[in-house]
């Protein structure tokens, strides 16, 4: 069974539905995503149906339902980045990886997450791959960065 989620739930004895979001956040923190198993466990613990938990979780951008990829790309969609063309960058990355924001590629290598503001507006538009920041991007430059990671995997990966 999903022991990590169980451990988190142990901290919330007798909790009701008002604790749903904090629990989801903790589970995601620990597991990196919200799995079906953990939703089933949380649902049983709080007495909330799975569809309702999914409804709440999909309302917010912060929750993901697949494990993060080996390379986790955060695309900033904050105001400054938006003005500087982050919509184009996101679309470009989605097209190259053939996945949508919130999703993980089938090979498990890449995942995309949209964040509201990464806190580096001076570098707008910004993306962050596994903690490494890339600023003042264009769509083309973003594509190059993603492809360089793909390249790295193709040569060094197994």
């Amino acid at each position: 069974m999903n022991t990590k989620a169980q451990q988190i739930l142990m901290k919330y004895p007798g909790a009701g539905r008002d604790k749903l979001i904090p629990i989801l956040q903790e589970v995601q923190e620990l597991d990196g995503y919200i799995s079906r198993e953990s939703v089933a466990l949380i649902g049983r613990h709080l007495g909330v149906p799975a569809s309702k938990i999914y409804g709440v979780a999909t309302f917010y951008n912060q929750f993901r339902f697949k494990p993060k990829g080996k390379y986790h790309i955060m695309v900033c969609r904050g105001t400054a980045c938006h003005v500087k063309g982050s919509a184009d960058i996101l679309e470009r990355i989605e097209r190259v990886l053939q996945i949508k924001a919130g999703d993980t590629s089938r090979d498990g290598l890449f995942s995309i997450e949209v964040v509201a503001c990464i806190g580096a507006c001076g570098l707008a538009p910004v993306i962050c791959v596994n903690g490494e920041y890339h600023g003042k991007l264009t769509g083309e430059a973003a594509e190059k960065i993603v492809k360089s990671y793909q390249q790295r995997e193709a040569t060094h990966g197994n």
Partner: protein, 573 residues
Amino acid sequence: MEQMIANGNTIPFEKGETVLTALKRAGIRVPTLCHIECLPPVGACRICVVEDTATGQLIPSCSFPAAPGMSVATHSVKALKARKTIVELLLANHPDDCLYCDRNLNCDLQKLAEELGVRQRRISGERIAQFVDSSSPAIMRDPEKCILCGKCVRTCEEIQGVSALDFSGRGSKSRISTAFDQSLNLSTCVSCGQCVMACPTGALTERSSLREVINALQDPKKTVVIQHAPAISVSLAEEFGLPAGSDIMGIMTAALKKIGFKAVFDTSFSADLTIMEEATELVERVTKKGVLPMITSCSPAWIKFAETFYPAVLPHLSTCKSPQQMLGAVIRHYWAAAQGLDKKAVYSVSAMPCTAKKFEAEREEMVVKGAPDIDAVLTTRELAKLLRMYSVDLSRLEPVACDLPFGERSSAGKLFGASGGVMEAAIRTAHYLITGRELENLVVAAVRNAEGLREVTLTLDGLTLNAAVVSSLGSARPVLDEVAAGKSRYHFIEIMSCPGGCINGGGQPRGLDKEQVKKRLAALYAIDAAATLRVSHKNPAIKELYETFLGKPGGHKSHELLHTTYQPRTELL
């Protein structure tokens, strides 16, 4: 009673009532879309807006409390314009395929658009292409036709306690989905079809079996037979514009014969058979200290509900198949041979007030000796479509009786169509089985007109039986929690998935009109009151079936053909 003003006239209301309730009582109709009468208002769609004449503001009548001295105009220019705009906005991303839609000519949204005079597409919204979910054996879901009114969500959660569906996403990406956007067959959906009854558009429909049935009717190698459920004869008429509660049993049978069914059987017959098996099982469990309480197993959505949410209570379920499956089994394994037919040459159709019956018919447990008990299930709505397709004019038909040997029924079997009916029929027969005497007053009033939970205590020659009748799965939950905790004081519980029982089943004529359901119920009780054969164990056709084929209730052959097993299911895997 306090008073308010509507369209210049004084109308009464009771404290705490909404404007809509007051208007309705006064006979003023205001259209609604997201409103469900028996549930608290949500005011999501705003179709019911009326103008407050004092302020000129539009208020949603479904959720706005009536107040003394308040004055509203229900059909002011402002209110009408607002309603029309709302419909236009709902239609902005609606697929314009009414001609090809299951709901054509019978659609709440279409009707509103017509009533409010929407004659052109003034507002065009972005349409998101989505897949039709046809994974469930019972229910089809077309998200493109969904207007996000949330009625299905509320029915599923607040009436049925299932919560297979909910809103997910946000803003323009809001949608109705199951947990993790799984297809319905993998979700916790129990196929009860109450969402289909609630849906104002063609977004939720039954998965139709009409084509298979029509093909079978044309196939010279097949002998096509049909059985119809107790609740059908009192509701089918509504699909043809006749008043609710009209019993068209004989005419329906004539119509089915006319379009080519070789034999038309009455599922009420096998309801009698179910009673023989189930009452025997109950007496056995009570006298031999078996697992109690015993819970009825006629309602397939309830079965899936138990398997999914209460696997611990599965040993409490009667092992009896539902009347549909029982009749299917005896048609296939007894009648076919008696007619000199190969059992696989018989194509067995059932007409049911239910969508879950489609799921039940496809269960792997319902295949005996390599052949399914039932080949195709039609809902009441599909049956009406079939009759229309064959241009049957009901007014020109003379009533005929159902075919023997499965056409003779007791009115106890007929009562299966109503919540409390199985209990009443079972009490009549259990009384006889235990005491050897017939019940003096056959009407068990305590379980009649039941909604939610009803209880009855019987004393049979010193043996006390506590029984309960529950309809709607939401109402069943507290009862089941007790059973699961081993704290139930009942011996026998009847559970029907749909509120009010099969007369309000998910396959019945659309809508959530309670008055309609009451009339169907009254029709069933009238049939019982007028009947001479009112107890299952006296049905001569049942006796004959046991003598010539089955042996005795609960015997070896019964167990092979008429009883079944259940499987625990897990949520979300």
